[in-house]
Symmetry: C2
Subunit: 358 residues, 2 copies
C-alpha cells in the first residue's frame, strides 16, 4: 500500500522535536478505521484545510497506522470488539504523537452495520472513547471502500467481494445497497459463496448427484484430506467463513484449466455480482434516463482482484458495461482505512460548508 | 407414537414383582437409540426369539423409553454428547427394571456419522458404558429411520428431510448415500435449505434483485421483525439450523396461497430430494436392469410429512415413481429409536445365523 509513503514528512521521528510532543500546538487530526472480517486497521491523518476535494494530496499523508484483530461485534462479541477498537486507536495515535483530544473526527467503516441500531451501538462505544467535541461517524465498510477509490466523495457504486459481498451506491442524498446478508442469506457472489458451491460440487460428484470435477483433487489436496467424506467433518470443525472463502484460488485455477463445473460456479458469481450492482444502479438511477450516464464503480476485495487466471473482476465489469456503457471502473490504490479518514474529512467539510456538498 | 402401547405387558409395574428386580433371571434386552438434531431417544426392548423377521410383533414391545437433549458431537461437543447418552440409557434401563449387564445389544442411530472415524469414536464411548459381552452398533440416523419402516430389514432406500436431508440405500451387502453434508455442503432439499432460500428471497426482493414475495410479510410476522434489514442480525444472533428450518411451514403456506417464489423453492427442494434418491438407486441398481424392479422408499422427517397444503413428500414420491415405477412408499408408524432396536435385533440374528441374512 502507499499509505506509509508520506509518513516521514508528517511523522514524529526522534530527529524532529515538536512542541507539546505533537505536531505543534493546535494540530488537529482525523482517524480512519477499517473494521474488516479478519483485522481492524486505524490510520491517523492530519486535518487538511477544507478546499475542493480534487485538491487533496493523493495519496493523503498518513502519520500513524495500527493493525489489530477483528472488531465485528457480530463475529467476536461486543466486549472483544470494543477492546480491539480501543487498542488500535491508541496505537495509531501514539505512533502519530497525537492524543484523543486533538482528534477532530473519527470515521469507522465496519462490516456488520446493517441496521441503524448497529450504527447507534457502535457510536455509543466510540463516544465513550473520545471527548465530546470529537465528531464520530460509523459506516458500513463498503462505504469506506468506496471513499478509498473516490478520495472520499460519495457518488457512484462500490462492489466488494471478499469473504462476503455487498454493493453500495450513492447519488445526491440517496443511498442503496444490495446483498451483504452473509452466507445464510445467499451472498453467492462472495468468496464464501464461490467456495461453498465448489465444496458442494465435490460432495455431489462423490455421491453421484453430479459429474466429476477437478475440484475434488485440488480441494482435498489443499485441505490435506483424503476423501470427500472428510469434508463434512472439516466444515463442521470450524464454521469460519474466511476459512471456506480461502478456497477461491482453487476454484479459479480449476476453471482456468478447463473444468466446466468450476467455470460455471465463477460465471454464476459474476451474474450474482452484476445483479447486485444493477439493483443499486437502478434504484438510484445512476445511469440516467437513457442508461448511458457516467458513474464510477469502485471494486474491492480478494475475489475481484486482477489475476492472470480466471478474472472475476474483469468479467463483472464487462458484464456491467454491457448494461451501462457509462460505468467506469476504479480499483482503489489506497486502503479502506484511508478511505474512512477521507470520509471523515468529507463529512466535516460538508458540515462546515452546509449541506450542499457530498 | 405406538411405542408405549405394549409397555404394561412387559413392564416392571409395582404389582408384578420379578426375581432379581428385573424380568426374571436371564432376561435379556436390546437398546435402540435415536440421536437426532434436537433430542436423543432411547428405548428398551426385550430380546425377542430369533425367527423370520416377518413374525416380529408390530409394533414391537417397548419396556422403557427416555428422552434427553442433542447427542450429536458435531453440534454439542464430545463431553456433552457423552453425558446425554449416559443419561438417556440409564433412564430407559431404569424404567425397564433392567441393568447394563442384562443388555445383549445396543444400536445407536445418530446424525453426524459420516466417516468410519465418527463411528469408531462413538463406539469407544459406548464400550466404556457397557460390559464387554454387550454387542454395540453405531449407524447414521438415516439407517435407523429406514429400519423403523422395514421392521429392521435393510433393503431399499430411505429419504430423510427434517432440519437436514440425506438419502441412504441398501441392496444385498452394498450401501450408498447421497447428501447429508449440512448447510455449507448444499443440502438444498432440507428444511434448512428451503427456509434459507426463503430468507434469501426476502432479502433479494427488499434490495431489488428479485420480485416481491408474500414470504416477506409472512416470515417477518413469524419472527416478530419489522423490516427485512433485521433478518441479517436475526441470522447472526443464533446460527442454529433448526431455528432456520422452523420457517418451512411459512414457505408451504405462501406456496399454497399462490406465491410463485415460494412455489419455486419447494419445486427446487423436490428436485433436489429426487436427485438424492436417484443417485442412491442408480449406484445400488435397486430398480433392476429394466428400471421397473420393486423396492421400498422409506420417507421420514418434518419436510416430508403429509400435510394438507403443498405436500413435498407426495411430490417427491410422484417424481420418483415416474423414474422408477416399482418404488413403493413407506411412511414408518414407529419412531427411529425403535428402528434402531430392531436393527440391533437384526444384526444380532445375522451374526448368530451367519452372513446369509441381512
Amino acid at each position: 500500500m502507499n499509505s506509509q509513503r508520506n509518513t516521514e514528512k508528517w511523522g514524529c521521528g526522534k530527529d524532529e522535536p515538536h512542541e507539546n510532543g505533537g505536531h505543534g500546538s493546535g494540530s488537529e487530526f482525523l482517524l480512519g478505521l477499517d473494521g474488516g472480517a479478519t483485522s481492524t486497521i486505524c490510520v491517523c491523518m492530519p486535518l487538511l484545510p477544507f478546499s475542493d476535494q480534487a485538491d487533496l494530496p493523493n495519496p493523503p499523508p498518513i502519520l500513524g497506522r495500527a493493525v489489530a484483530g477483528c472488531s465485528n461485534h457480530n463475529s467476536v462479541g461486543e466486549t472483544a470488539a470494543r477492546v480491539t477498537l480501543e487498542q488500535v486507536i491508541t496505537e495509531a495515535l501514539s505512533k502519530s504523537c497525537a492524543d484523543r483530544s486533538s482528534v477532530r473526527a473519527v470515521c469507522l467503516g465496519v462490516s456488520g452495520v446493517n441496521h441503524p441500531t448497529d450504527q447507534e451501538r457502535i457510536l455509543i462505544w466510540l463516544r465513550e472513547m473520545f471527548p465530546s467535541h470529537v465528531k464520530l461517524y460509523v459506516q458500513n465498510d463498503a462505504v469506506a471502500a468506496m471513499a478509498s477509490g473516490t478520495m472520499g466523495k460519495l457518488h457512484g457504486c462500490v462492489l466488494v467481494s471478499g469473504t462476503g459481498c455487498i454493493a453500495y451506491g450513492f447519488a445526491d442524498d440517496k443511498e442503496a445497497r444490495a446483498a451483504g446478508g452473509g452466507p445464510i442469506l445467499g451472498d453467492w457472489g462472495s468468496g464464501y459463496g464461490i467456495a461453498a458451491q465448489a465444496l458442494t460440487a465435490v460432495i455431489r460428484a462423490h455421491d453421484g448427484r453430479d459429474s466429476q470435477t477437478m475440484l475434488t483433487t485440488r480441494i482435498l489436496k489443499a485441505l490435506h484430506l483424503s476423501s470427500p467424506d472428510e469434508l463434512i467433518g472439516w466444515t463442521y470443525a470450524d464454521p469460519s467463513w474466511a476459512r471456506i472463502a480461502a478456497l477461491v484460488p482453487e476454484v479459479k485455477s480449476c476453471a482456468e484449466d478447463g473444468d466446466q463445473i468450476a467455470h460455471n460456479i465463477l460465471v454464476n458469481a459474476v451474474q450474482e455480482l452484476t445483479l447486485c450492482v444493477k439493483a443499486v444502479v437502478e434504484r438510484l438511477n445512476l445511469c440516467g434516463a437513457d442508461g448511458s450516464g457516467s458513474f464510477p464503480i469502485v471494486m474491492v476485495g480478494g475475489v475481484l482482484e486482477t489475476n492472470k487466471s480466471w478474472d472475476v473482476g474483469k468479467e463483472v465489469i464487462n458484464s456491467i458495461q454491457k448494461l451501462y456503457p457509462g460505468a467506469h471502473l476504479i480499483r482503489p490504490k489506497m486502503e479502506p482505512a484511508i478511505g474512512a479518514a477521507l470520509l471523515a474529512w468529507n463529512f466535516l467539510m460538508k458540515e462546515s460548508q452546509g449541506d450542499n456538498y457530498c
